[in-house]
Symmetry: C2
Subunit: 570 residues, 2 copies
Amino acid sequence: MKWWGWGDEGTEFQIDNRPDLWPYIRASLNLPDDRPHSPRVAFDSVRVPEKKINRAFLNEVTERLGSSRVREDKSERLTHAFGKSFRDLWRMRHGAVDYAPDCVLYPETSEEVSALVASAVRHQVGVIPFGGGTNIAGCLEPIGSRDRMTVSVDMRRMNRLLKLDGESETARFQAGVLGPDVEAQLNRSGFTLGHFPDSFRYSTLGGWVATRSAGMQSDRYGKIEDIVLSLKMVTPAGLIETLAVPRASSGIDINRLCIGSEGALGIITEVVLNVHRMPERKETLGYLFPDFQSGLRALHRCHREGCVPAMARLNDPKKTALSFAFKTAQGAAQRQVGRLVKSYLKHVRRMKLDQACLMLVSFEGSPEAFERDRRRAGGIFRQLGGFGLGAAPGRAFQSGKFDFPHLRDFLWDRGVLTDVSETATVWSNILPLYQAATRSIEAAIKAHCRAGWVGCHISHTYHAGASLYFTFGLDPSPGDDLAQYLRVKKAAEDAFLANGATLSHHHAVGYEHLPWLEKEISPTGLKAIQSLKHGLDPSDLFNSGKFQSGYGFTEWGLPDDGDKPTRKPI
Amino acid sequence: MKWWGWGDEGTEFQIDNRPDLWPYIRASLNLPDDRPHSPRVAFDSVRVPEKKINRAFLNEVTERLGSSRVREDKSERLTHAFGKSFRDLWRMRHGAVDYAPDCVLYPETSEEVSALVASAVRHQVGVIPFGGGTNIAGCLEPIGSRDRMTVSVDMRRMNRLLKLDGESETARFQAGVLGPDVEAQLNRSGFTLGHFPDSFRYSTLGGWVATRSAGMQSDRYGKIEDIVLSLKMVTPAGLIETLAVPRASSGIDINRLCIGSEGALGIITEVVLNVHRMPERKETLGYLFPDFQSGLRALHRCHREGCVPAMARLNDPKKTALSFAFKTAQGAAQRQVGRLVKSYLKHVRRMKLDQACLMLVSFEGSPEAFERDRRRAGGIFRQLGGFGLGAAPGRAFQSGKFDFPHLRDFLWDRGVLTDVSETATVWSNILPLYQAATRSIEAAIKAHCRAGWVGCHISHTYHAGASLYFTFGLDPSPGDDLAQYLRVKKAAEDAFLANGATLSHHHAVGYEHLPWLEKEISPTGLKAIQSLKHGLDPSDLFNSGKFQSGYGFTEWGLPDDGDKPTRKPI
């Protein structure tokens, strides 16, 4: 991955083939034509903090792993310093790298991880478990003690499928395996995990488990916490190892103490998961609804009538406009069809196109199950005013789905700051929350930035509710652009918690969401996590400072000083 | 509930209407005709331990609750002393009551619970949260400190539905509500929780959550841990309160720290759960399979083909024979039909009737969904040799399903000792585990008892596996019958753990399963639970001694002294 942005070095967002995108963004934010590109510092001019080396530790791990798997060079330190949060990339772009691990270790087995953790405990060296480095909540950086040596443990060499049980449809993986390698190793035998987060290409199984990840098809296959049967996690107090059984009643579920522990209790080294036979048929279809509410009603009814799509993404009007602007160049014939459809919807169906909402739904399974679900859900959609757009929007989505994170870098180069904040709530609260959060974000944009844009889509649905995924873009006012961003981010999270929704449905806590954690889980709930931390990692070696109490907006970088957008220096 | 057995005082197992049952049991165990009834001590001759009273505490809680909700009489103390495990009932029957709470408190609100827990902490009084008292794993008795005053907190006055959100299909209940009252309050508005454990009539929501309960229809509605959205739990360190959202990524899931905590961390006072519209149609059907393996294959295929019944109970041959013996008296015509079916199966279908396995399956939902599921599953069953017995076995099961626990008392009165041990494993391990555990139990019976009987049924199925529910009956040799029982129970649990299965699928740990816990969750896993305990309840006031390390078979009551069935005195 690039040290300063998303994707491999050399890859870039392909704007040329999406002719409507930049015009749409420029118009939305009312940007001047001759907008200058934002500067980005060069690798050579980035300074990383001086190394704190614990020689005895380093000798031990070098003896164990060999020097090729103990890396101290600047490039390694820099690419393991942060994740991919807005603040992370802001610091990289500005060369303001206030932290980097002192070295990076590459274990290959659970036993090696146990040995290096034992060394770390013996020599009181800080440890940051590192999966793919894609996290956007500040999960990869100690915010407690930074006085000691800290090592990043890159798990990506632990990438093997250890056992596939085809009858039980379970698979044991080493936890450092990347998304594509999970699927490749399973697909070979006709199986799939079905876990496709936006970060899929670059994130690891262990990272998914540590952060309670969701994938695009989690409505069908479950969030990661729903599909883990057992795991191994190396903690400073020893190895946690659970039994791979479908359900149990053996006291507090130890799997669930490890899932969501965000690197603060130990390193997840192996995971056993539910897997599934690859579906014979799958397809993503587009539907256009007259408004957000009718689309929501349609998804609600799918749950009530037991025909839940494998994926359902309902865009609000703004996100719908962005989705259409995201489409690749079309031939004349396609454009003509598009115009006819538009005209039909406007004049015959009396749709107000600026309020229309695009929903993408995937169905999959055996040909019969596919057909049955598609027919039943399609019937509900039509009853609620949905207009079938066929498979073209689905193909466009599927081909571009992993490109979206690249867009942030592209826009940032042009001075436009973008980010996402997502949450979940129960059905009866979705519309009030949607309205409140949108208002709150818009108000913050108005108060602090020159211009901005906010859209939302429903990304996952459940029996009891759904997740709302907000995307925003800012054209900052002159001055401190990071502080302006933080104001808007805070407005989103404040609105979530004020309206009974979670601080995150699948992006974890890290330190970016830490100020809201106590509000969500109560002070005693936080104390429970701290009790675990204290018992397993009494010296706070792992991801130091996470899950601490009293981490407020000052610590977060934004003193609560009324409207003045200032922040503490990094 | 009776202090010495199952059910309300006055209710008794109705044997007269089940003419085949006692003959079947007598024949299975080769019991002599003139078997004498076992003695059971009278209430008046039971002595309960002397009270340890902390006057200051008692004054505080009496002032808060009023004297009618602070009970110290013998009857209250006795009915709150134990659960309904074999050992519990053995002690009651023998008048060997070595523990009873010093008083019983009846709070009515979360606030009252918080106040009484604060008093308990202030005065260092032990607390046992008490739901319905139906637990069979030893969850209601302190095994750590017994030197201080201990109070049982009976939650059954906290029995109200606080909020029903029909759109989200969620409901907030006080945690002391009994099963029938959960359903009655929901049914009124057309909803159901769908949680029907064998203990349904007498157990509470809070108890279900504290022990990770499963109900008969959990394959459809989920185990209790799958359907909790949020909860309140009063701990010595304060109130844990979580947010009712369908899914979240806010660090370690606090709900899951409370679920399965078995009264050792605090008192669960409120729970928000998924509920469902009552199904328009439901029915339980019987199928007879030529053997256990083909029945298993049929259930496996239901999962792989996406037509999972709401309930599926597959009996092994022994349990099948018991089920048929359990049926109520039939008229001459019915008997004649039964004979004809038998003859057909034997001579035309060439079924070996002593290997045949009865499966009961429930389908429910809209008329269309019901019909679709029944047809698809029925097709699979037929392909695997299943013979449809229609709705009669289902009706018999549904009418008798909550009577089964009464049978233990009835048989005990006749000197036959019975109990259950259940577990879960992945599909590929079910048959090996079934055979190993059956052999292990049979060997223990042969080594220690005069005669015995063991049967098994599959009680729940999942994507990755299923639960196996063993029932055994013993005719003890002269001498220490409790020790003989413990040998057999140990043989079952030993076999589970030796074969990679869980110590319990839905009966919890308590102290009856504590010797196996470390093996299941690893020493560091146990340390994690102890860290939680230490952080939230540092004086070990709640359910003292649970989740301790080093609780071996000596502590359990059975010194590992080879074949000699002795045990430490109670």
